[in-house]
């Protein structure tokens, strides 16, 4: 399986995944397909995700969507907004708090959430990995296998590929 996730200079996220599935599959089994929400997801409010691994476990956990949801809620939790209504301005117009530069979810906190979801996959017996770019531009990995062919780069100069 191969995939990519990206944040462009306009602040837009995208995710893509492509695969041949697992060796020896039969009966039209498409459980290793990067089903939207399981293996692939992108939402400018949270992150972009592409997964690789034992696809049927990714479907059961809803990995890609779960990661995006957890990052969005973690951001709100960090700002004590989970129990509040959406903040409004003086005219009563909802504030675009999601897209405010004031609201950044740190890379280490995002990593905690991503690792938790992959931990859920592992608890069920599945394995694999994900790549994530957060809406704040952090390119992150998480995998529970001994290796993952991967790479990441940013406009700040990060440029790396790795296997183990």
């Amino acid at each position: 399986t191969v995939g990519a996730v990206a944040l462009d200079t306009h602040g837009n996220l995208a995710a893509g995944t492509s695969t041949g599935g697992m060796t020896g599959k039969r009966w039209g089994r498409i459980g290793d397909a990067p089903v939207i929400g399981a293996g692939t997801y992108a939402d400018n409010d949270s992150c972009a995700v592409s997964g690789t691994g034992w696809g049927e476990y990714f479907i059961r956990v809803g990995v890609a969507h779960e990661i995006c949801t957890r990052l969005r809620y973690r951001l709100l939790a960090e700002r004590d907004l989970l129990q509040a209504t959406v903040p409004t301005d003086a005219d009563g117009v909802p504030v675009d708090y999601i897209h405010s530069a004031e609201f950044v979810l740190d890379a280490d906190k995002a990593q905690e959430e991503i690792d938790a979801v992959m931990g859920d996959v592992a608890r069920l017996g599945g394995d694999g990995g994900v790549i994530v770019v957060t809406r704040d531009g952090f390119p992150l990995f998480s995998f529970n296998t001994t290796g993952m062919y991967r790479g990441r780069a940013t406009s700040e100069g990060l440029d790396q590929v790795a296997i183990y």
Binding site: T1, V2, A4, V5, A6, L7, D8, T9, H10, N12, L13, A14, A15, G16, T17, S18, T19, G20, G21, T23, G24, K25, R26, W27, G28, R29, I30, D32, A33, P34, V35, I36, T40, Y41, A42, A48, T52, G53, E56, D127, V133, G137, P139, L140, F141, T145, T146, G147, M148, Y149, R150, G151, R152, A153, T154, S155, D159, V161, I163, Y164
Partner: protein, 170 residues
């Protein structure tokens, strides 16, 4: 403006003892080339969607990875390809599953997202849509690699029946 990208070429049990220096270098070179393709799009002000497609199409053409050319074999000795793409701006999404012969499944998934009213197409219907859209097809042998065929043969040799293969996924 700020941009960021991450890519993968699959995950699994990768034993360092099985990785020769030449093989390691080849994989890293392929990953770097794909990463560079995405970086070029983003650094030039291109869209995240175009960057993703630039990376994935390159990896689909690289027989070292399990997608497009170099895809694994099904039990029947064919290749069934799947792909998905999603746009974070409006959560538009497109996916295809179980198609054969499509050189770049990620491009077909993008066609589904943009040029169809649907999110996911599968099998013969997806291939019919691909033909209508002028998507590039390749003959079956273009996707074949010796390493993947040997993997299927090993699997069949180790399993008593197809039931043994599939039951663990159910």
């Amino acid at each position: 403006g700020r941009w960021s990208i991450a890519i993968h070429g699959g995950a699994g049990t990768l034993d360092r003892a099985d990785m020769t220096p030449e093989r390691d270098a080849a994989y890293r070179a392929s990953l770097q080339a794909a990463l560079d393709a995405g970086k070029a799009v983003l650094a030039g002000g291109g869209s995240a969607l175009d960057a993703v497609e630039a990376v994935v199409t390159r990896l689909e053409d690289d027989e070292k990875f399990n997608a497009g050319r170099g895809a694994v074999f099904t039990w029947d000795g064919t290749h069934e390809l799947d792909a998905a793409i999603m746009d974070g701006r409006d959560r538009a999404a497109g996916a295809i599953a179980g198609v054969t012969g499509v050189r770049h499944p990620i491009m077909l998934a993008r066609k589904v997202m943009i040029d169809s009213p649907h999110v996911m197409l599968a099998g013969e219907g997806a291939e019919e849509f691909a033909h209508e859209q002028g998507v590039e097809f390749m003959p079956p042998e273009w996707f074949d690699t010796d390493a993947r065929r040997e993997a299927l043969e090993r699997m069949k040799a180790e399993k008593l029946s197809a039931l043994d293969v599939d039951i663990k996924f159910g």
